[in-house]
Amino acid sequence: MKVMKRRVWVRSLLAAAVAAAVVSPAWSQETLKIGLLATLEGPFAVPGQDSMRGADLALKEKNGMAGGKKIEFIKLSSDATPDKAVASTRKAVEQDKVPIMIGPLSGDEGIAVKNYAKTQPGVTFINGSSGAQATTLQDPAPNFYRFNTEGAQWMVGLGEHALAKGYKKVFLIAEDYGFPYSQVQGFMASYCAKGGKVVDKAWVPLGTKDYSSVIARMPKDIDAVLVVLGGSDAVNFLTQYEQTGGNKPMIGGSITVDQTVLNFKGKRRESLLGTASAGPMADSIDTPEWKKFVADYKAAFKDGFPSPSLFAYLYYINTKATLDALDAVKGDLSNGHKAYREALQKTNFKGPAGTVKIDSNRNGVGPTYITEVVKASDGSFYNKVVKTVPDISQTLGLSETEFKKMGLGSRDVPDCRK
């Protein structure tokens, strides 16, 4: 008898809890909720935190209001896996009922969120920092907007710069997945067309830290090594390369020549000088807009980095575009966000690192900065901007037909060995 009563009691409690959770209404009259997704779990937690700072900065500039309403970020987390990203996004859209969703951080997550966006036409999705080509080039979603440029666009112009430095033959080492494919395509689009040769591509499996076999395979008659690895992996590579007696200069991908590489303490430290790289931003951009952005970031976040990271910048411009468009339509999200989406399409403002606008596929069109490593007056190394290439679209400087013929970057595309 006692047991029966207890069981019924427990069960009714459970039912009540469930009912309460389910029935509680979402009070959102004066407040507009916007979902904000970044990787806050796992090894990418630190970039994820910085991306949240970028978004917070954009909101702070508007004093927490946009379109006449108070904006509240519903912060969500993923662990860099697409499954988790979609699960968190689904929770925000279906449980918390957010009308606008910003995120995610990494490339593969972006593709998964875009696919989810297609099933929710009434919600507007804005990218965070994901940079995979396929998100907007293959099967785009009409309600997914990406105001930043993607991985391939980030490397356009570096190819010509490498040729100008006399690097006619390069050897590639990169990790074997989507983002490096895009980066390499961006580099090779103009490099191959103007006569450069990528003699061989060494695609190492994700997570490899031991490059000794790859280094042993490198031919001797190359001019430079194109390294598209994360900064810390690049340090490993440089150390192992140096120890095996390698002495060729390096060309870096967008995330390669970062602080860990610039602080490299190996014997060949001086040979790092002049290493070329490219990306959508650089610490040393010499415009008043960028300087203001850095100053604002430093003032708002005492616990942040010495300078805003790539992720903070990308989330900043995407969030700013979101909020600016809300202002433009005075918060009108009616009629399936029709007016709002038109405003998003018309976005055109001067961001900290150049103009922010989108093309007909709702993908960002923007500048790329070519940098080289130089020595500062105090002896430390930093990336100095040597060239700015404006208005790069997803066709990477080629004509539409040429680009379509090439296809998206993959292991063997593009290829210019001979």
Binding site: P205, S232, V235, Q243
Partner: protein
Amino acid sequence: MSRFAKWFWSLVIGGPLAIFIVWAISENPRLFFVTLLNGLTLASLYFIVAAGFTLVFGLMRNVNLAHGSLYLLGAYSGWVVGDATGSWLLAVATGFATAAVLGLLMQVLVFRWMQGQDLRQTLVTIGLSIVLADVMLWIFGGEIYTFDPPSWIYGSTVLPVVEKYPTYRIVVLLVSLAIGLALWWLLARTRVGAMIRAGVDDRGMLAASGVNVQLVFALTFAIGAGLAGLAGVVGGTALSIAPGEDTRYLLASLMVVIVGGMGSVVGAAIGALLIGLAEQFGLAYAPTYGVVFTFVIMVLALAFRPRGIMGRAA
């Protein structure tokens, strides 16, 4: 196995192998010998990690799936000390000590009360590994840490055919040989070693002959864990420390021990050689599927010798 069968299988496996070696040397001798050396040095690192794992299993039947976390813990704690004092050797010692202490605590506080419940112990180690991995992620974050060893270790030596080869890898090889010898000496020439070997053969008899079995267990676990921590610093210097390295070295230890045989240090050496060489040759000559290569070897080894090459009945 009959003599004919032995000849047959040696030909089937040895034949293609010999052809491959001849081809590889003629094609690019430098690449072949570099890969060979790389394989040997990687095998040495795997041996250090796996020796501890196999010792713990052999004696206490405890599949310690937190072994990888011990590796990572040793690496991080060694880094902290190395960074603070600037001495790499001290970092190595700290790595060994921290992991050994944690191993001791694990044995005395947790596993002692679950003697005989193999599966439960394994599940507890899985839980511990999840918790430890997250705690370390919390404390040290997701960035990669690199060590700062003395420059004489970190340069390159000139060798025949291979030209310049990283000195550090040769150091790793020598260290692991030293550890292997030390383990052999411990097991074969000391009383404690005799007790451990006796325990591996027959635990009950060991207890019956008046030895404090719990003490022997605790000591063995401490040594096994300490070896993992030491490998953490040594491996971390070569390849840097990051979250995820714990699962990598756990998997490597598992494969080495499965192939080599549980409970046998010699088996760990053989297994490490096979797996290390397979991994490096796979990466060098067939990079796309090289990673899967080692697993295939493991599966094949199991198909022919389910207990591992030097394994003995449980």
